[in-house]
Symmetry: C2
Subunit: 318 residues, 2 copies
């Protein structure tokens, strides 16, 4: 599908639903809100669905409250669905089975693993974020790009590029960001909401994690661990541990960072990050996987034993 093919398609539908993936990130949320607003301004009835509740940190995005986590299609409705930022329909979890009620699916995504599951597919792997593709759709069809849409798109792009820090950041990303800022987006507000805000629990858990920090200078690996019981002691969620593994990886002269989360069920979730080494290969020894520089696996056994096993594989692989 090309951007210009959008209008003939839209003409046949008054009711449009937008779907995005489980555990939604800034790109999933921002792209969906931006695209919803653009379609509403075209006079469409638009619903937005996500199988998960949207984290409260995104509540600064206009339209945030419009997300629904229950998709109950009317059988006789002629429905067009846009599925955003999903490499496959399984990313919609329990909503996947209900997608058969939808007449046509338009798949808009930037993941290289996208399965082109839609009746129409607009997949651009060069885009840093799905929001870049939404931006182009809006621009090439001369739709209105108001301040609300600009804010949602900017937040989405900033989120998926780690504020223009990751490898996916391109000159085009920067040019789009320039236009969005011109529309009145405040970059400071966005980054404060997306990157700076910390929960007190997260800081207290970081303190606990740092007490377990160990480094092996010779093999350039650093690791930290946390027991599920510690997380419970703070009435916190394991989601608060996100990013802790990077503290280990980011230490100067270290190549690999590891974070062990020892569950009460006798399973350890292992997060692996690296500056230069292929940790996906290491994770694959234990049935895990991921990207070369960011991978993970789940291993059964006693906490201490699991840590030893993983560190042994890492030291041998280097």
């Amino acid at each position: 599908m090309k951007e210009q093919d959008l209008f003939p398609l839209l003409e046949g539908y008054n009711n449009i639903s937008i779907f995005t993936h489980v555990r939604p990130d800034g790109d999933a949320i921002g792209s969906s809100l931006a695209w919803a607003k653009a379609l509403i301004m075209l006079g469409k009835n638009v619903e937005i669905y996500c199988p998960d509740v949207i984290p409260e940190r995104y509540s600064f995005l206009p339209g945030y409250e419009r997300f629904q986590d229950q998709f109950l299609p009317h059988k006789k409705e002629k429905l067009l669905a846009f599925v955003l930022d999903c490499s496959d329909l399984a990313r919609l979890e329990y909503m996947e089975s209900q997608m058969s009620q939808v007449e046509k699916i338009v798949n808009i995504d930037h993941h290289i693993t996208n399965e082109c599951f839609g009746d129409h597919n607009l997949v651009k792997t060069s885009a840093a974020a799905t929001a870049e593709i939404i931006f182009q759709l809006i621009q090439e069809n001369n739709l209105e790009l108001d301040q609300e849409i600009s804010l949602s798109l900017y937040a989405a792009i900033s989120s998926d590029t780690g504020s223009f820090r990751y490898k996916n950041t391109t000159p085009q990303t920067m040019r789009i960001a320039a236009l969005l800022l011109e529309n009145g987006v405040n970059p400071y507000l966005v980054s404060e909401k997306l990157f700076d805000e910390l929960s007190l629990n997260k800081l207290l858990l970081l303190r606990e994690a740092l007490y377990t920090l160990k480094v092996d200078e010779k093999h350039q690996v650093a690791w930290m661990s946390m027991k599920e019981s510690t997380v419970r002691k703070y009435n916190a969620s394991p989601a608060e541990l996100e990013g802790f593994v990077n503290y280990a990886k980011n230490i100067k002269n270290m190549d690999i960072g590891v974070f062990f989360y020892h569950g009460n069920d006798g399973e350890t979730k292992v997060g692996l990050r690296s500056k230069n080494s292929d940790v996906a290969r290491m994770a694959s020894y234990f049935g895990g996987g991921g990207h070369p520089l960011a991978a993970g696996c789940t291993v059964k056994g006693r906490a201490g034993q699991v840590e030893k096993k993983i560190l042994k594989i890492i030291r041998e692989a280097l």
Copy 2:
């Protein structure tokens, strides 16, 4: 001075010195290196001076080793000096007195407090970084913008905007960044060097600091402290404590973060950060100052007493 006036000025000089400020940041260093390279490519003899040693984290910037911290001008030399990113000549510390040996000073800066101390002044307060002005100088004079210069300018801009997160980030900043990326800059490499890398000492000190974390939910203030003896225990430098105050400020529902550094000399250095309140005013009660959202002061007295005094003023001011 206008950008176009540069060439007639340069024609009269073969020897050019570039100066930047004490405690140099990414903009000071990157702007100086970029401008030096541009002038070298014009066939000039260029020296770069900074009253401080350049932190090793910037060693990835091409030309890093060319910085000198001793300025010894030959009396008979006809010297043109560019002073970059300095609001006044006092920012050159002990080099200030030697500036009288220089025939002409060109002052290039973006600080609103700039004193226009130069024989020529190119001060643009709308620029996010001095590097933006250097970029324009290069572009408007059709100088070559090679990959090395692009990397130095990108690092400078990224540094002064916190990777395009601060309020000073403008559409123009983004457009310049787009052009620099097109010249082959790797944004990931820059951000890894500027923002991600942590020393092991810094993490260990963060752990110590987090153990002192206290929050006053009612007054939305959080604080941490550190004794000089703790820093010495790790053979670390107090510079490693940079940014710790933000962990306190960034806690959700907190407005003010405070960091107390209790020196062995009976003085406490107090760092204050806020999301919304004027902490410069609070610091001014103790003879300190700064920006509304980022200020500091130094207070004599017993550690516990100083903390009480500061927190009292904060609670009363809110």
